[in-house]
């Protein structure tokens, strides 16, 4: 693995972070390869397409709104990156802060796989939907 490759992964990770912080679902999905898959720990038998992921992101804003990242720590490795993040948002029952882990696989200049680990009870207790 060359330094140039790690540099390119770092650039993709920075683009991903910027897209996530923008909360622009099209920009976020634009970081994914067309055949990318998105997997959640709480639905381990399902894998979502980029279009389905976009829908999940948009739906989450309906009950978990004014989203903002209060933490985003990225670990690079030759196959992609790992992100430890905390997403805060408003819900019908108040402010909710949900820490999660995202494991991204990168090939070329796109993310080909995302695996996310959440604790669904945090959002469910606040009256918002998963995701």
């Amino acid at each position: 693995m060359t330094e140039a490759t790690l540099d390119s992964i770092a650039a993709i990770a920075r683009g991903w972070e910027a897209a996530c912080r923008s909360l622009d679902s099209d920009r976020i999905v634009g970081c994914l390869a067309d055949d990318a898959t998105v997997w959640y720990n709480f639905q381990p038998d399902q894998r979502h397409s980029p279009a389905e992921y976009r829908s999940i992101l948009e739906n989450s804003k309906k009950t978990f709104y004014n989203q903002r990242y209060t933490k985003m720590l990225v670990h690079l490795h030759p196959g992609g990156f790992v992100e430890q993040a905390t997403l805060e948002g408003d819900t019908p029952n108040g402010v909710v802060e949900t820490p999660f882990l995202l494991v991204a696989t990168v090939k070329g200049d796109k993310i080909t796989q995302i695996e996310e680990y959440f604790d669904t009870s945090i959002i469910q207790q606040a009256g918002a939907r998963d995701g």
Partner: protein, 126 residues
């Protein structure tokens, strides 16, 4: 990328799964922090070992199934299916990811991510 962090984690898993707390202790820095996403709090080393001691009393079997370890500059990330069989017969079978920070040959921080409701069968709180 240096895989030594993952090698330490691989070796650390053995006493964990074998319930050998003394051997586990040898892999952990004195400044260790253990953090669980579903508990929202961190434990120091002594608290962690006490917590593990209590947990092992109700866990008949623990396995990290299909473990995949990824080396990072800070240490290692392990993804696996956490399988537990409780003394009372309950089963946990849930995806889990653990971020290990390794420095100077010791594990310094363990961040565990799992879906809290998937652990209901353990009856373990904190």
């Amino acid at each position: 990328m240096d895989r030594s962090g993952c090698e330490i984690v691989r070796r650390y898993n053995k006493p964990w799964l074998a319930r050998d707390l003394a051997a586990m202790d040898g892999f952990l820095g004195e400044d260790l922090i253990l953090w669980h996403n579903h508990l929202g709090r961190a434990f120091g080393k002594a608290e962690m070992l006490s917590f593990v001691t209590s947990a092992l009393e109700v866990l008949e079997k623990v396995e990290f199934r299909d473990a995949v370890r990824t080396a990072t500059a800070e240490g290692c990330v392990q993804q696996h299916r956490l399988f537990c069989r409780m003394v009372g017969g309950g089963i946990v079978d849930a995806p889990q990811a653990i971020v290990y920070t390794v420095r100077d040959g010791k594990i310094r921080r363990i961040d565990e991510y799992v879906d809290g409701p998937a652990l209901a069968a353990t009856g373990i709180a904190g």
